[in-house]
């Protein structure tokens, strides 16, 4: 705007083209800023959407489980009715499953068939028989889970076939094509090479047994001089040497000379040149026969995908198809219970003292500064505190929900104290004065009159604090709550995991099935968080009084 003042004739300037341009420029700048703001918000919301979408996309399949409907003869010769848990269920289940594929022969193929079924299936049958001992000697039909690769295959997470060639291999081939040496001859894709028919490798008196293969490879390698020798060999068909052999047999005088021949390429490259995509069995599966056996199960209608109750009933397992969250949910429950029992009364007591009783002095100032700073200390530092003090000094057990809850309560305490103080402050002075007026002591005023009015606010703050504590991972890792524990804890002193640490250990597991289990576990965790926050919002809106 300073250029307005420097304009000599202001009156002429208003409405001039220069002025209009300047106004337009200023408004454009304004619009631009608005656009940037909208773009920033759009970006943030888009990222949130991508986060949720990618979790749902990978996670939803874990809420169903692929199972096979299997008829199992519980022969009394194999199961001792007095000791049903001791029978060899591995063999019983294996034989029942193999009976579905009478056409498969050979030990290796049969073992591949066994791998379709989850290796935990025998324990399910064992538990069933132990629970129903009167079924011994009869035929039972059970839905048993499939192993992880087939579970993933049935859900469409992984394909049964993958592209046979890597991008690099295709790149090599495209380079070859661009040299105009590849063509189709008699329905096969061939490459033209210069081959030196080495008299040492092909003897004129015995043309049928020459080492044509290595001659062809050598000639072909000249196209890939800059790469290692072995990279090029896989492009040639196994019978590439035969083309040269036929040529030499037709022209015996070629020995000792360099000749131009066309040799066939491997079938995968043949397919690419003809515009197809060469496929091979996914290396996750043992063989194409194994996949075919699974497909026959699908065709026979034996495969079903019921809701995956195991996800909530089972505890952790090395096998993704059997791993569940029960242990982690119970562990998280105990941890939060301890956290609540410590931080809720302590937080309210501290807040009442600081808000209602504390004199303003150095000590209370120090306490307030400390509370504010504790709220911003990185969570991993609380883990270090728990490790050094609770585990190292007091000798409490590792991985115990008690210790986890104690550490988390130290982190939740500032949240609860701050929320309680705000809630106490919001109770109007008229309530206090009326209570004091009828002769209540200060403690009675607060306990009987102020605190009940402040309770919705306090509970809201507490639930939000506990929701934060539920998602906290790092301090629990340091006190060992990421251990591999296959049963739900029975108390606060037993080793346990929690939901977030379970997510962490699953995310670290190499099996493909754990990717979707991790996403599913995250969805469960987010579900709990949403529920807790919804309760907090409900409490605030339903019970909080407006004065």
């Amino acid at each position: 705007m300073s250029d307005i003042a420097s304009t000599k004739d202001t009156a002429q300037y208003w409405g001039s083209d220069a002025h209009k341009r300047m106004v337009a420029r200023r408004h454009a700048a304004d619009k631009r800023l608005q656009f940037y703001g909208m773009a920033a918000i759009g970006l943030a919301i888009l990222l949130l959407g991508i986060l949720v979408a990618s979790l749902v996309r990978t996670g939803y399949v874990s809420f169903i489980q692929t199972k096979v409907n299997l008829e199992i003869p519980l022969e009394s010769s194999r199961i001792d009715a007095t000791k049903p848990q001791a029978a060899n269920y591995r063999v019983i289940v294996r034989n029942a499953f193999r009976a579905l594929f009478p056409e498969v022969k050979g030990n290796r193929n049969l073992r591949n068939i066994d791998k379709i079924l989850s290796s935990e299936a025998r324990f399910i049958v064992r538990d069933y028989v132990v629970a129903n001992p009167d079924m011994i000697g009869k035929m039972v039909t059970l839905d048993l889970p499939l192993s992880d690769p087939f579970d993933q295959l049935h859900k469409g997470v992984i394909p049964s076939q993958v592209e046979a060639l890597t991008k690099r291999e295709i790149g090599l081939f495209r380079g070859l094509v661009s040299r105009n040496v590849v063509s189709i001859q008699d329905g096969r894709t061939v490459v033209q090479i210069d081959a030196f028919v080495d008299p040492k490798k092909v003897l004129p008196d015995n043309l049928a047994f020459g080492d044509y293969g290595s001659i062809v490879k050598e000639g072909f390698r000249s196209y890939f001089l800059r790469r290692g020798a072995d990279t090029s060999d896989s492009l040639l068909a196994p019978d590439a040497g035969d083309a040269l052999k036929a040529y030499v047999e037709a022209n015996p005088d070629a020995i000792g000379k360099t000749v131009q021949v066309k040799v066939p390429l491997a079938s995968d490259y043949d397919a690419i040149f003809k515009g197809e995509v060469p496929m091979a069995t996914n290396p996750r599966f043992a063989s194409a026969e194994q996949v075919a056996a699974f497909n026959s199960l699908e065709i026979r209608g034996l495969i079903s995908t019921p809701f995956n109750w195991e996800l909530f009933v089972n505890s952790d397992s090395r096998f993704p198809e059997q791993a569940g969250l029960a242990g982690a949910i119970v562990g998280s429950f105990y941890t939060l219970l301890v956290c609540f029992l410590i931080s809720f009364p302590m937080g309210i007591a501290a807040a009442i003292y600081l808000e209602e009783f504390a004199p303003t002095n150095r000590l209370t100032d120090l306490i307030e500064v400390n509370i504010n700073n504790l709220a911003a200390v990185p969570s991993v530092v609380f883990g270090l505190l728990g490790l050094a003090v609770f585990l190292g000094f007091f000798g409490l057990p590792r991985s115990a929900p008690l210790v986890g809850g104690m550490v988390l309560s130290l982190m939740t305490l500032p949240t609860i104290i701050i929320a309680t103080r705000a809630a106490l402050k919001a109770v109007p002075p008229s309530i206090r004065e009326a209570a004091l007026g009828v002769g209540a002591s200060k403690h009675q005023v607060i306990l009987h009159h102020v605190l009940p009015f402040a309770m919705p606010g306090i509970l809201t703050g507490t639930i939000i604090g506990l929701a934060q504590a539920l998602g906290e991972t790092a301090p629990l890792l340091l006190i060992g709550m990421n251990a591999f524990i296959t049963s739900a804890p029975g108390g606060v002193l037993e080793p346990a995991t929690a939901l977030p640490t379970q997510i962490f250990s699953w995310a670290d597991s190499p099996e493909r099935g754990f990717v979707s289990r991790t996403s599913a576990a995250i969805l469960v965790l987010l579900g709990f968080l949403v529920a807790m926050n919804a309760i907090a919002i409900f409490l605030r809106q339903r019970f909080e009084l407006k004065w």
Partner: protein, 459 residues
């Protein structure tokens, strides 16, 4: 056993509450208006003096029982068994005795160990039973002493309120105790670390290879504790996070405060806050599952090699997480600028954008800076995202496409699994923790100071 003790104490406390209350009625012959305090206070007074001292006794007993029995155990071991043992070996022996005592017998423990285990179990039993007896004796003593004091003129309410005051003060002191606990535990372990590794190496060394050999013949790196690459890695990732979060947060705050209508604002603001409420382990998995592979394949298409655990992926995801910090602090700061300044600017003919750029942002700058510093401290202390998405190997580089490691990653990886408190590897984690605590605390104090100063200016 412990459960039985607490349940018994609870029962005695409840009974003594009832007894105190009934006694109060009895002393005035069923006419409570003659009492100074209402009967419930008499009951509460008795219950407090019965329950609290006994519980404190149990807690103190539990804290001291272990060390005392251990000392007795070591004293009772035969001379030739412990002669010439290093402290570490002695600990091992004690641990073996304890595990034998608990019934987990591996191999063939010798006779001395078996005897010691039997003695240990005996003492354990004696301690348990005497704790039980002492706690109940303390409770009954409290009951006897306080129940006699109940009379019409006895000021039970004052007594109860005094007890309540003490409890409330004790709870308030927890905050100080926690800070003290953090400082002391970090300092003690860090000082033990600096006993073994000179602090100059830690703060100025360029080589971080903490995996020291555990056995003599193990082939590992020598164990170097120069933390500079760890610090630079932390700064690199936090810097990337701020590069993502500051513009996004600031622009969204500007839009929400100045351009958006209240309805839009009421919807958008909570959605942005969701970003801060998602657990960090979820972000970590998101980085591994989606962001890092996407960046890697993008790098491949433009012919660049991006590490699968690049600083860029971890930093960008961390940036998403701290967007709400920046935006809500900037939002508060812009809202706190007095309306007169805004209107003055409009009065001079400035557009909305010019008002924001030339008036509001300069005036709100201290508050925004405070928010950014808090976000930086959050980024430096953030653990799970980097543990899952960043690297483990300390590399001194400023290239965001390479993998770097951070302070928090090192703390977690050094302490995960079995931890012994006597090798520099685990102690190094505490030294790193101390640095982390001091830096984040400093950032927080400065940020809060700036925000407060700025608020005072406009109030």
């Amino acid at each position: 056993m412990l459960t039985i003790v607490f349940i018994t104490l609870l029962a005695i406390t409840a009974a003594s509450y009832a007894m105190g209350r009934r006694r109060a009625f009895a002393v005035v012959h069923g006419a409570p208006e003659n009492l100074h305090s209402r009967p419930v206070y008499h009951g509460a007074f008795v219950a407090a003096w019965v329950g609290i001292p006994a519980c404190l006794l149990v807690v103190a007993w539990l804290a001291l029982q272990g060390p005392i029995i251990e000392a007795l155990l070591v004293d009772s071991l035969p001379e030739q068994k412990i002669k010439g043992l290093a402290p570490g070996q002695l600990d091992l022996l004690v641990a073996e005795i304890k595990s034998v005592a608990a019934g987990n017998i591996f191999g063939q423990p010798d006779a001395a160990v078996r005897e010691a285990a039997a003695r240990y179990n005996g003492w354990q039993d004696i301690a348990q039973w005497s704790m039980f007896t002492c706690a109940i004796a303390a409770a009954l003593l409290g009951l006897a002493l306080t129940r006699r004091r109940i009379s019409a003129t006895f000021r039970a309410r004052h007594g109860v309120e005094r007890v309540m005051n003490i409890i409330m003060i004790a709870c308030s002191l927890i905050a100080i105790l926690t800070t003290l606990g953090i400082v002391v535990s970090l300092l003690v372990e860090a000082l033990r670390f600096f006993d073994r590794v000179p602090w100059t190496e830690f703060f100025f060394g360029l080589n971080w290879e903490p995996q020291i050999p555990i056995r003599e013949d193990q082939v590992t790196a020598g164990g170097a504790f120069g933390a500079i690459p760890v610090f630079t890695g932390t700064l690199l990732i936090a810097g990337i996070a701020l590069l993502v979060a500051v513009p996004t947060g600031l622009y969204s705050a500007v839009y929400l405060t100045e351009y958006a209508n209240p309805r839009v604002r009421a919807i958008i603001k909570p959605i942005l806050e969701i970003l801060a409420g998602i657990p960090t382990v979820v972000y970590g998995f998101f980085a591994v599952l989606t962001v890092a592979p996407a960046m890697r394949s993008f790098g491949e298409t433009i012919g660049m090699d991006i590490a699968p655990n690049s600083a860029l992926a971890a930093g960008a995801v961390m940036g998403i997480m701290i967007i709400p910090f920046v935006s809500s602090f900037s939002d508060d700061a812009i809202n706190a600028v007095p309306h007169s300044m805004r209107e003055g600017s409009y009065g001079l003919g400035a557009t909305k954008g010019e008002t924001i750029k030339n008036v509001l942002l300069p005036a709100a700058l201290p508050g925004i800076m405070g928010g950014i510093l808090l976000a930086a401290s959050r980024a430096i202390g953030e653990t799970m995202i980097v543990v899952m998405a960043a690297g483990l190997i300390a590399r001194l580089t400023a290239n965001p496409f390479e993998a770097v490691t951070t302070v928090t990653v090192q703390i977690v990886t050094l302490l995960i699994g079995d931890t012994e408190f006597d090798n520099p590897k685990t102690l190094a984690a505490f030294a790193l923790g101390l640095v982390l605590f001091v830096v984040t605390l400093g950032l927080n104090v400065v940020a809060l100071r700036i925000v407060q100063k700025y608020r005072e200016k406009y109030e």
